[in-house]
Subunit: 301 residues, 2 copies
């Protein structure tokens, strides 16, 4: 696949990460705000070393549509709050029961299950508070932005995907290619697409621009998850001294498990190409999104 | 205290309950929507026999401000979704660990902890989807309604109140009168006040009307919780053959425990009077709210 033209992605990610960190820091109540333990728990997970992929993609989508980065920041912070909420609840003992994430103890390990549950809940509310501060644009009301995030976070997508994933873990033999794609679309591609669309909406995107961002989100989101599946499988065989891949160990249905490694790699490349094609209408303003799509694919290849 | 003038509260509650049930039934995806188990779990708890106090109060507030009941229905359904979410999460093993509520097994007992957790999460998202469908009014944008519900549901009020309540249960001796009031305001009065304010906003309430509804909400909400505390204590001593009140058994800080029974009763009456006074500006349109305030107090007296 042809590489992205000269674009300094590292510099881009560095400046945009800083903006997102500041927005999140301003949005989250300080740990002096009562109840302290709740705000500590929220901050613990929000500032636990995430790469800020989703909020940065919101900003990149705004820029693709020639919008103002600053105006999109509350939306960027909101998608990160929803993402963090989903991680906190996902890590709870009754879900995946994970003690560590990115080398940091998970929220319930540090603050207890009840506080972690409530920290997740509070981050969702905060996300909608943030979206409500956006003034809207002529094409996109604040209400349509709220609707976008609510629909994505709800029972048909993000939360629905968690339920499907739980069912799949319970009986991986029942997961066929269609179901696996549905899980990946719901758990990963939906919030990524929402992040892009909110960035576009903040920049008063035309229907055609919003369609392009949606296409980019679906393709990148699915590619992202396929590559995650591949990494989990290949890391286990390549890195000696490490336990086998978590997915394989838990008998989880993955792209490589269902389609084979070679077909999975090809599908990730095909999807990334489709994602890149969808960006053409943004002309030179597509550079950040293009570089991010290459970066996501290159984690493996 | 003088009784409410002739107003058929039973008939009022019956018709309004029906409207709310229909709105909730329309708002919640059917159990045929995938993933079925999630939508079954959401419906199990939403239709588990609640009195619909909050959504009916939303409609009554709309009527007090001469607004259209139908327009307020999505907001009424939204507050009930948030209320149900808080009950589902509150009942989870890591929180209060309640197996039954209103004679019906709680969500996690029927559908498992993970599905109950996710059903609660999905109800919050649905609540904001519902608020986003309101077109707003000249005085109150849809964004301001979203902000109202998000702020109330967040770390400073509803969720914050849960955390304070957990801390209080852990060490009731540390709960003084100020802290107890803060817990009651956060856990009960805040969402009740929000329910009223959203109803007012839907009816394009003036600032003066919104202030009156807020005053009514604070006073009624606190009175409601004090009466709950009193009922828990008196039922245990009056109804032989029943185990002691749950609050007393768990050493929970309550109004009667801190202030004594007589002072608690007086405070509930004083607050109800204050609530009734705040309704004067609504003239004859105040009848439903007035009757509801009397009804809440009369549960005990």
């Amino acid at each position: 696949m042809p590489k992205s033209p000269a674009f300094d992605l590292s510099a881009y990610l560095a400046t945009r990460t800083k903006l997102v960190e500041q927005a999140l820091n301003n949005a989250l109540p300080t740990t002096r705000t009562q109840p302290s333990v709740l705000h500590e728990a929220m901050r613990h997970s929000v500032f636990a070393g995430g790469k800020r992929l989703r909020p940065i993609i919101t900003l990149a989508a705004t820029e693709a549509c020639e919008g103002d980065t600053k105006a999109a920041l509350p939306l960027a912070a909101a998608v990160e709050c929803v993402h963090t909420f989903s991680l906190i609840h996902d890590d709870l003992p009754c879900m995946d029961d994970d003690d560590m994430r990115r080398g940091v103890p998970t929220c319930h390990v540090v603050y207890g299950e009840a506080n972690a549950l409530l920290a997740g809940d509070a981050l969702v509310a905060l996300a909608f508070e943030l979206v409500a501060t956006h003034p809207g644009t002529s094409n996109h009301t604040t209400a349509s932005m709220v609707s976008e995030l609510a629909h994505t976070s709800g029972s048909r997508w993000l939360i629905g995907g968690q339920v499907l994933d739980l069912q799949a873990e319970g009986d991986p033999s029942k997961v066929n290619a269609v179901m696996l794609k549905k899980i990946h679309m719901s758990k990963t591609a939906a919030l990524l697409t929402c992040s892009l669309r909110l960035g576009g909406m903040s920049a008063n995107a035309s229907p055609r621009e919003l369609d392009a961002l949606t296409e980019f989100g679906h393709a990148t989101g699915l590619a992202f998850q396929i590559i995650d599946d591949i990494l989990d499988a290949t890391q286990s065989s390549e890195k000696l001294g490490k336990t086998a891949g978590k997915d394989a160990a838990s008998g989880k249905a993955t792209y490589p498990a269902i389609h084979g490694m070679e077909k999975s790699r090809k599908e990730a490349i095909r999807l990334t190409r489709r994602a890149l094609d969808s960006l053409v209408i943004f002309k030179e303003k597509r550079a950040p999104l293009e570089a991010i799509a290459h970066y996501l694919l290159d984690r493996e290849f």
